[in-house]
Amino acid sequence: MTDTDITIRIPNPAAPEPLEAARLTGGARPEDIEYIRKEGAVYVYEAPVRLWHWVNAAAILTLMGTGYLIGSPPPSMQIGEASQQFVFGYIRFAHFAAAMIMTVGFFGRIYWGFVGNRHARQIFYIPITNARWWREIFFELRWYLFIEAEPKKYIGHNPLAHVAMFFFVTLGMIFMIITGFALYAEGAGQGSLPDTLFGWVLGLVGNSQRLHTLHHLGMWSIVIFTIIHIYAAIREDIMSRQSMVTTIISGWRTFRDDRVE
């Protein structure tokens, strides 16, 4: 992630009248024209990563909504006889289906960590032995506490976001997948595939009620992450020196200035 081999591009004076179309869109100052001639963008999130992000976001929203309802069911409905009505069954089905999609997506994401670009690997580890990285965390914390006047430029996740991604998303999702499948194994029955793979979790936790509670608290940790994630992405999009929201749509990280620090 730390590229020291930086090429600073120098504008080519021999170029023909640059960017005529850009001038036509109006309001362009000479320095704007000078700036947009440079490649002020890095391709960070490849298509599979972006696809995973949005599928995952949709799955997690579904899981939160249905999961909350499984813990606190909606008011009883009297559509027909119990044999004609499957309201709670559908809620649980949606939860399980979204969980399966999320799990498959997570495995796909791990695979992409191996074959994708270097940014695809960032969320799977934290460089805890790198002293400089720790200093950067505190720098970013000071930026969020309004102590630093200006943030730094980052290509991938900034160190603070990196920590949040690692703990809430990578470890958080592993925790939710393991506890979730352990709960699913209870319904699937002893000797079933989910039970063979994840039945040991119930033995470890001891009591299914306790396992439910842990899974439930896991959901709230992801709710908390979601709030921070969306707020930070929008705030950084406005206040930082690089793009955030468009990056997870197009994959390109654009920068607002060409200063070296």
Partner: protein, 361 residues
């Protein structure tokens, strides 16, 4: 061990006819989930095998396991089981008392070293060197260890012996400890429940005597034939659960209609037991059928899982007493507020910076 009678001898001596005996064998086969081919096998084992001596010890408990056991639905099963196990020591049921009783215990251990089954009802408290439970002038934990040393296998009766039950509930002042955490070197069968279902108890014993081996156990050491499914999986109110039809209050119309008790805190979905299939009191009923949710009595630490009438467990860590939803919503609410404040300060800072730049610029 020629002096020990076979099960069949005992039954005949008790005036049980051959016909009744065969009925009992069929019933046992059915209860254990075995095919008809096993009926003659059971009969053969009963006719030829000497009775297995059982020592039944009592620690910190309420005797509800014994009470349940002697109420086994099929009267024959109770009679047979009580007489077919050579119950050489059980301080609650035996006629002898005092030194005579303790002598019987020592005799049995000495005589059948390595061949008897130790049934434990209740558990030993370990605090103060076990002084919270004294049997025959000695801490119960000593009697338990001594009796366990030469036992072939141990049956942990009930939630007390299996998990600790109420005396081990937080903060567990006497340090009541389940049997498997005290006896580490013997095969232990947990038959949890407060109390366990009578037919489950007799079923486990009959299986062990008939086949001379432990029943198949699940990951938590419980007989898989009775504890492999949750109450919820076989609950006759399950269709109302799937339909989303719940009892909302104890006296509402839904309660009268027999809807699902999930919202009333029923622990059926998290409790492994045979109540919804075997039922209680000669198969008459079980808690959910009587309109009350399951309290999860056969689960590890069931006293510490919050109220019996709450779906979500009360969490007591960090000095708070709330359920996961309240904690999560509070945290999300506080965070949401913080985000709004942070956003406002960010906007102000930004506006301030712009004004400054304008002034300077």
């Amino acid at each position: 061990m020629s002096q020990i009678e076979t099960f069949y001898d005992v039954m005949r001596r008790q005036g049980i006819t051959r016909r009744s005996f065969m009925k009992y064998c069929s019933l046992t086969a059915a209860a254990l989930g075995l095919g008809p081919a096993f009926v003659p096998k059971i009969a053969h084992a009963m006719e030829t095998k000497p009775r297995t001596p059982v020592i039944w010890v009592h620690g910190l408990e309420c005797t509800c396991c014994s009470e349940s056991f002697i109420r086994s639905a099929h009267p024959l099963a109770k009679d047979v089981v009580l007489s077919m196990i050579s119950l050489d020591y059980d301080d609650t049921l035996m006629a002898a008392a005092g030194h005579a009783a303790e002598a019987a215990l020592m005799d049995t251990i000495e005589k059948y070293k390595g061949n008897y089954i130790l049934a434990v009802e209740g558990n030993p408290p370990l605090n103060e060197d076990g002084m919270y439970c004294i049997i025959g002038g000695k801490p119960f934990v000593e009697q338990l260890k001594m009796a366990a040393e030469h036992a072939k296998a141990i049956i942990s009766w009930g939630a007390c012996a299996s998990y600790g039950c109420v005396q081990a509930a937080s903060p567990n002042p006497t340090r009541a400890t389940p049997v498997h955490k005290v006896i580490l070197d013997k095969p232990i069968i947990k038959v949890p429940g407060c109390p366990p279902i009578a037919e489950v108890m007799t079923g486990v014993i009959t299986y062990m005597l008939t086949f001379d081996r432990m029943p198949e156990l699940d990951r938590q050491g419980r007989p898989a034939m009775f504890y492999s499914q949750r109450i919820h999986d076989k609950c006759y109110r399950r269709p109302h659960f799937d339909a989303g039809q719940f009892v909302e209050a104890w006296d509402d119309e839904n309660a009268r209609k027999g809807y699902c008790l999930y919202k009333m805190g029923c622990k059926g979905p998290t409790t492994y037991n045979a109540c919804s299939t075997v039922r209680w009191n000669e198969g008459t009923s079980f808690p959910i059928q009587s309109g009350h949710g399951c309290i999860g009595c056969s689960e590890d630490g069931f006293w510490d899982q919050g109220g019996f009438y709450d779906r979500l467990t009360t969490i007591k860590q960090f000095g708070i007493e709330e359920n996961a939803d309240t904690i999560g919503m509070t945290a999300a609410g506080v965070l949401g507020g913080a985000v709004v404040v942070h956003a406002a300060v960010s906007a102000l800072k930004r506006a301030q910076k712009k004004t400054q730049e304008k002034v300077e610029g």
